[in-house]
Each structure stands twice: as structure tokens, then as C-alpha cells.
Symmetry: C2
Subunit: 178 residues, 2 copies
């Protein structure tokens, strides 16, 4: 995959469809990645993303301490790896190594990108007011990478308990909505 810089103004279109994402972090040289579905866009530009991470997740403390992460968007081709990342903890295993994921250096944050994902959004935490109560972090996307060859990516959408809907056909309607 050849990933290129992607305009921040178009980032909302990647997350608005609601794909499962892989959140990568690093702390003291130890990279980790978790599977996540509880996120939403909050602003177009600069792109803000709100996400919920339970405090039992190993990534929770890392994100709180480092205030940096990458949101990576996988497709059905690596569904197995996505589920494995969701079923294990960075406390016990080096998920990049065990699941054969490639840690690619980011440009604006220390956390690595996941090479196997078609899109990666480098993020910084900008608001932690709702972290204590809900585990809700507000992130600003500071740099975006996308594989431009992926026009209709077969993203994963979790219905619960390991059941995923895979992105289907695309339709276009006349709309003034952004």
C-alpha cells in the first residue's frame, strides 16, 4: 500500500461511516494497538474526534499519559487481526509482533501507524474533561494518511459479539449536506 498525505478537511468522510478502528499508542518504547468502535466526529476542521476507551484497557493509561495516538482504519482483509487485537491486552503481549502488524513511524506523534490499515490519522488529545466519568477523550487529527487506491474500502462495522457488517455498495444522492 502506498499511503499519501490526505487533506484534514476530508477526514470526516473516513470516520463518519462508523468503521471499526485500531488505536495505536506508545509509551516507554512499548507500542500497543487496540480495537475500538465507540468514536464519532465532533468537528470538520480542524478535525476533532471523540472516543470512548474503558479504563480497564491497557491503552487507557497510555493515552492519558502521552496524549497521543493514531487512529488506523482496517478493512475486511485483516478482520482476523482486528479481532485478535480486541481479544488480547497489551499488558500480556506485543500485539504488533504476535499478530504480524507493521509499526510505521508517524510524522507528528510518537505512536506508530499500523501499516496494514488503508488509512491512519495521527491524533493529539485536546480535551479530557469527560475522561474520568465516561472514558471519553476528545482528539484532534493533526495529520492524515490514506491509500488513495482504496476508493470503496471494505471497512468493518461491529454489530456486537464478533459479528461484523462489511461495507457494501455505494450510492450517491443529490445533497447539500457536507
Amino acid at each position: 500500500m502506498h499511503k499519501r498525505n490526505y487533506p484534514l478537511s476530508k477526514v470526516y468522510g473516513l470516520l463518519e461511516p462508523g468503521p471499526v478502528v485500531m488505536l495505536s499508542t506508545v509509551r516507554k518504547g512499548r507500542a500497543n494497538v487496540m480495537t475500538m468502535s465507540w468514536q464519532t466526529m465532533m468537528e470538520f476542521e480542524p478535525p476533532l474526534v471523540g472516543c470512548v476507551i474503558g479504563d480497564r484497557n491497557y491503552s487507557f493509561a497510555t493515552l492519558k499519559a502521552t496524549k497521543e495516538c493514531v487512529i488506523n482504519i482496517p478493512t475486511a482483509e485483516i478482520a482476523e487481526k482486528v479481532v485478535r487485537c480486541g481479544n488480547s491486552s497489551g499488558r500480556d503481549v506485543d500485539k504488533f509482533e504476535v499478530f504480524g502488524l507493521t509499526a510505521v513511524a508517524s510524522k507528528c506523534v510518537a505512536a506508530p501507524r499500523v501499516g496494514e490499515c488503508y488509512a491512519s490519522l495521527e491524533c493529539k488529545v485536546v480535551d479530557t474533561r469527560m475522561v474520568a466519568k465516561y472514558g471519553f477523550f476528545v482528539l484532534e487529527v493533526v495529520k492524515a494518511w490514506v491509500d488513495r487506491a482504496a476508493k470503496e474500502p471494505r471497512t468493518l462495522h461491529h454489530r456486537g459479539n464478533g459479528v461484523f457488517m462489511v461495507a457494501g455498495e455505494t450510492i450517491k444522492l443529490a445533497s447539500r449536506m457536507k
Copy 2:
């Protein structure tokens, strides 16, 4: 469609895939409905949903004042109505009447459900701390209705500018994730 009561513990599975939703409200006898994509689950049970509504939307002031709404989930069959609701304002038109939507009485809130949607979640606003800054409301789902015949609903997922991905095939992987 025959919609029945749906367990609150299973509500997350309806919103986690990231569908476009229709948010209905009512104030002083005037019902309205808006199209929305910026929402996320925040808690399993009781189900909490966070959603972003811009303050220029007619529904913003109504939701802030009444603290009640219904999140309705449409499918591709009514894509045209979904887009029309997104391209017009309740300030100018009665969307239920003009777009041929059926307002069905809710059980726990004054806002009506949208009869043409396969699922409806009656909600109350429980946290407004982030409304001023981000238009971010935290809602608690207090009652859920689903058409049980809709096993693999063809939900809509907005990529931006009127381009929608329609829910495709379902895959199941062995997972311990909820």
C-alpha cells in the same frame, strides 16, 4: 413493520456499526426530525449515546430545552427521505408532513418515533457539559423498539456530500469482545 420492545442491553449493537440516524424531537406541539451521523455509544447499560448537533440546527434548541428525543435508524429503502431531511430545516417546513413520514407516539418521551425506520430509541439528555463547546449531548436510551424481521438491515453510512455506503454482507468471527 411490526416493532417490538427491544432489550436495552442490546442497543449498542444497533448504533455501533455507525448508521446514519434520524433524530426526532417535539416542542410546543411541533415535531421535527433531522439527519445525523455524528454519534457514538458511550456505555452498554444503561445505554448512553453521545451525539454532536450543531447549534445552527433547529433541533439544537429544542433538544436543549426539552431534553428528550428519539434516535431512529433508517434503511436504504428511504434514503431519499433521509437526504431531504438533511437538506431542509424544521424552521421552514413540517418535515413529517412534507416528506411523508409517520409520527408514531413514543412511550417514555414526548418526541415521536419515525414509523418508517426499522429501529427507534427513546432518549433523555443526561449530560450537557459539552454542549456549549462542541454541541455534544450525552443521551440515555430509556426505551428501544426494533422491527425483529430486520435481521441484516440495509443501513446507510455517510461518506460525505450525499455519498452513502449501504450495509453489506455480515461476517462472524470467534470473539470474546462484547
